[in-house]
Symmetry: C2
Subunit: 681 residues, 2 copies
């Protein structure tokens, strides 16, 4: 038994954990936890299954094969040489444990459970007696990783990521505890958090963590334990931003003025989504958490403002964020170029976290609209249909058949910095937790995912079942099953796109409003409904077996970008339901860079069960620019669009999201041919 | 021992074979046989080696795997069911035996030799007692292949191909005999030929064979045995054309008027290369053979006229013939479309045979110019660099990244009708036989292939050695080594392309004549030379070690097509030395259909040893048509061209041979965008 194991036994941790109810303030709306939501959905369930069967095992295997596990073993032995590239490689193990934990709660698996236990044992063994856990230093404290700094915490603002590792440890620990009831990883996390709280805080060491997530992690530990230091330290870290005097505030370079780290000014003074997108959105998630838990109005106002900025000026039409490759960061307002779009998959993961929190704060469906956009588009585009090939960045346009990495396959199995695969592995099984939420007698249905849940109103169990073929069909059926007739309000989200709102901002609009609206029947009879914050409010005494039918208009919609988005001027994107479409070379005669989608194009839709695990395709005849003989002209061509999320599963080639509505010839060559010249023309 | 084996022993065949000298008339010029020419060439030798090591074994393996061998076994047993698709599938075995025989004479291989012996035993066992050999009938004579007709020979004009099978048998038999000295296959062939001669002829059965080659084969048997019936039957078959009354002579349909079979009029009345290209070129080869062996002036005039037609109006710039896919046939004059070009590989094989014969008749280098064009371009394009993937048809343009068979690889390992792979297998090892020729004291050097040969002038052995890096470099070195000083004339071909003649016709021309000419030095001293029929005539007393240096101008040449070739109007092809170039997607940013090569484009050349087994590339900056935002414009782009023969070895994508010299916009869409419409523009 190692020292740290003995320590755990001595700690007697269970007694330290109070019930949630002891917390005074919190989100007014609570999500129905994923453990209470059972999916039968034909869109999501296979993805969760693939995550369990393929992604998580592949991720653990890659953690082993790439020496990430070995780092912990060497740290435990205090001998060897850090064997991976980045000091934050520890987090891939934490994140995969988090995903595996969620997965275990749904699909019990003794072998996986035992493997996770053994990994946790190795993590614990790598922890130093005072709780410090960071293999990049512990393996050989005299020669830490060159990003780590000679002393603990000294490079935390820059590159050490000690607190980033800690944050992911906390997230994993709480997930593992909630999913399995085991306290093994939680004990390790708390010991580390206690160290962190003892080191950082008012009158102690201060830093704005270089890569945020420790703030979210500490909040999770606070929720799990009720220990106020965790919340106050999270708040301390958030308030530490904008305090560092070492930046060059006059520089426009985000790496010099602190913007890259969201550290150029206090968060309450920040108005734009800025810097490294993943870090930023983890910060904004934590700001929402702390605002909810403390009632801090200024913090709340800041995060609201930043959200409005991102959603209004800095999000791609498929929900991706972080346009700029250099620094994986947000660009300027309306800086959303297609050919160089970065759109890190992790940013989409972070965006789901953040929007869920914003919804829980405000009860407005617009946050779920954004979350839905991310989930069905720019997030799941990050993982191949095989469950083991990934995008780190999610392109908006491939302009030639080589793809952007000629020597590599379209998607990679792993990355040197492999944050995205493991982030997907942890988000995917948590999806059921985003479907429903509750505030007293208000039941929110946020996502349209077939399955069922049971929640309590007062002392009453209320069953809710969803049956649909979303996102392909707009016919959604909800069956409400209170044990006995009960008064409550069902709040069904009417997606913005079903209300002629392409985006809860002016960033994207539909070219022409639809005349169709979302309609609702209760027990077969049409009902008028009030719309409140994007929800159809259905208040009544619900009886066992009551059926609500919501029908959403599923036309193909032409999306236009705000005219300030230069790259999309004169172009159109295609959306149907929540799904953004793209054209891929494979379905379009080998190219897509030559396709025009004029106003008035008539689309047909068809579900293709054999294509890309089953997708609804859009087809039409469109003009395609071709060089024919010595003419450049448009020729009619069969056009097929597939859901954006499904691209790059059939090799490498051109892909387009934004299509010109028409083209004009500019600056074509005009010298005579040799034949003409010879003929004296 | 089978009946036929006993029969062979009884025949005592050897005594029936007179020396070649007994023939009275023949080609005035004899090729130096391939067995006398040893290659060291870095372009061809690796190809011959690949043919031996890969193509021939793969071809035999495929004959086994696809039941072609089984057909012979079943015919021997007279039981079973014909197990392949076409009645001419027997020929794939004959052709591979032919290739293997050539190969064995250069690379002895006991295992291959024994395998071929065993195959020949199986072929012999399948032969009927009277010499008939056609597995599609013999296996089950009551139920012959549905193309074969109920009776022998009855469908020969149409689809039975009985004489086609016979022709390939004869070609293989003579090759095997000449290469190995064994008479096993020859005995089988002669027995079959004797049957054919007994069935067909004046006063006997008559037919114009549906798919020619029996005529060439009979001539080969005639040369091998001196038996006049073989020559007269060949002549009979040629003269049988145009006699059949069953065609609809008023129809324009080549399948109804007999043109498809070169059977619409007597060959001496034919003036155009017509119908199925492979059949036609086998016929024209046989016409040359018979004209040479009989001195028939009308036949000679006809084949000259037809050659002039093909070379003047019906050949693609890379030497391919047979433009029309429907019927694998020649189109009308100047009908040479790029996107649908058929260009069967077998037609290029046949074209080599035919042009060699035309050269032997006339001693004019123009025939070798055409042969060289075919050899370095449209012929070897038919086999992948791996030696086991093939093109049946050789495209001139791929307009999209899918290639033309989306579900198949760029090249196939075998075809249901698999004539082309086995035709390549037999032509390739015969290549050394096309390098040199002789007429008395005139030595012709036709191809520039490093290696050496020894030939006799009078009683003198003359060694000739070539050292060069052709087709990449224009510096060619010839060393002449007579045993003692000897008077003779060295005729060095000065290729048409080195004399500003893109083609020995007005079909293709160079855009601008080169100011450089081919220069010759003897023993280091420049010499003036007379040009005769395309040959530099170097007559002198040659001494041991005399060195001739021929320097050919190797500029990149812009090739223009005759203005009557509609598809190439305003376009340019690129040639350097004998090599025609193409651009492939792989080297050109994923596309080639958008590339323009304006007059005045400056090319750089570089030998790339690691690319496509080593090729000289052409690079330049050219305008490429791109849709950028809502503009169609040309943008400067790095351009790389590779030898045409090397395309489709790196996956499927666009390929272009003829590039527009400039483009004009025609008929682009001009409706306003939705945004413009909304703004009232």
């Amino acid at each position: 038994m190692t020292t740290s194991n003995i320590f755990l036994l001595v700690l007697g941790l269970g007694a330290a954990m109070p019930a949630h109810a002891q917390q005074t303030a919190d989100y007014p709306i609570r999500a129905v936890p994923f453990t209470k939501v059972k999916l039968t959905d034909s869109f999501w369930l296979p993805r969760l299954k693939t995550n369990t069967d393929v992604t998580i095992p592949a991720s653990f295997a890659r953690c082993e094969a790439t020496n990430r596990v070995k780092n912990f073993e060497m740290a435990a032995a205090k001998s060897g040489k850090f064997a991976t590239v980045y000091p934050f490689d520890d987090t891939d193990i934490y994140k995969t444990i988090e995903g595996a934990s969620y997965s275990l709660s749904v699909y019990p698996d003794a072998k996986l459970d035992a493997y996770v236990d053994e990994l946790i044992r190795k993590v614990g063994a790598a922890q130093e007696p005072d709780g410090y856990l960071y293999t990049a230093r512990t393996i050989d404290p005299a020669h830490p990783h060159h990003w780590a700094g000679q002393e603990r915490w000294e490079k935390e603002r820059e590159l050490s990521h000690e607190l980033y590792n800690a944050g992911h440890l906390y997230e994993a620990a709480v997930a593992h505890y909630e999913a399995t009831g085991k306290k093994t990883l939680l004990t390790i996390a708390l010991k580390n958090a206690d160290l962190v709280c003892s080191v950082f805080g008012p009158g102690k060491r201060t830093v704005a963590p270089g890569h945020e997530i420790v703030e979210m992690g500490l909040v999770k530990l606070y929720r799990a334990t009720g220990k106020p230091e965790y919340l106050s330290t999270a708040k301390f870290f958030i308030e530490a931003r904008g305090q560092y005097k070492g930046y060059d505030s006059k520089s426009a370079d985000p790496f010099k003025n602190g913007q890259y780290w969201q550290d150029d000014q206090p968060v309450t003074a920040q108005t734009e989504a800025e810097g490294h997108a993943v870090r930023a959105e983890y910060l904004y998630s934590a700001m929402a958490d702390v605002a909810a838990l403390t009632g801090d109005k200024k913090l709340l106002a800041a995060v609201d403002t930043i959200w409005q900025n991102m959603v209004g000026k800095k999000m791609y039409v498929q929900g991706g964020t972080g346009a700029v490759p250099a620094g994986e960061r947000f660009g300027a307002n309306y800086e959303l170029p297609n050919t160089t779009a970065y759109n890190e998959t992790c940013a989409s993961v972070a965006d789901v976290y953040w929007n869920q929190r914003m919804f829980q704060l405000h009860g407005d469906a617009k946050y779920v609209d954004v979350m839905e956009k991310v989930l069905y588009n720019g997030l799941i585009s990050g993982v191949g249909l095989d469950g083991k090939s990934f995008f780190y960045s999610n392109a908006m346009q491939i302009k030639n058949a080589m793809g952007y990495h000629d020597t590599e396959p379209a998607r990679a199995g792993w990355f040197e910095c492999s944050c995205c695969p493991t982030n997907l592995a942890r988000l995917m099984p948590a999806l059921p937790g985003y479907v429903y939420a509750q505030k007293d007698r208000d039941l929110y249905v946020n996502l349209f995912v077939s399955g069922n849940t049971t929640l309590r109103i007062g002392k009453q169990n209320i069953g809710i079942t969803q049956q649909n073929n979303y996102p392909w069909d707009g016919g959604l059926k909800f069956t409400v099953n209170p044990a006995t007739a009960t008064d409550f309000t069902l709040r069904l989200r009417i997606p913005g796109w079903a209300r002629n709102q392409a985006m809860p901002s002016s960033l994207y609009t539909f070219a022409t409003p639809s005349s169709q609206t979302a309609t609702i029947k209760i027990n077969g009879r049409p009902v008028a409904y009030t719309l409140q914050n994007g929800y159809a409010v259905l208040a009544r005494k619900w009886r066992k077996g009551d059926v609500v039918d919501l029908t959403l208009p599923m036309e193909v919609r032409r999306v236009l970008a705000n005219a300030q988005v230069k790259d999309d001027l004169g172009k159109v994107a295609l959306q149907r339901g929540p799904v953004i479409y793209c054209a891929e070379w494979k379905d379009n005669n080998g190219k897509t860079s030559n396709l025009i989608v004029p106003a008035g194009t008539a689309f047909s839709t068809a579900f293709q069960p054999g294509l890309l695990n089953g997708v609804m395709t859009l087809t039409a005849t469109v003009p395609a620019v071709e060089v024919e003989a010595t003419s450049v002209r448009t020729v009619p061509q069969a056009f097929t669009a597939i859901p954006y999320y499904a691209w790059a599963n059939r090799g490498k080639g051109e892909m387009t999201v934004w299509f010109p509505e028409r083209v004009t010839a500019v600056d074509l060559l005009s010298q005579p041919t040799a034949q003409e010249a010879a003929a004296g023309k």
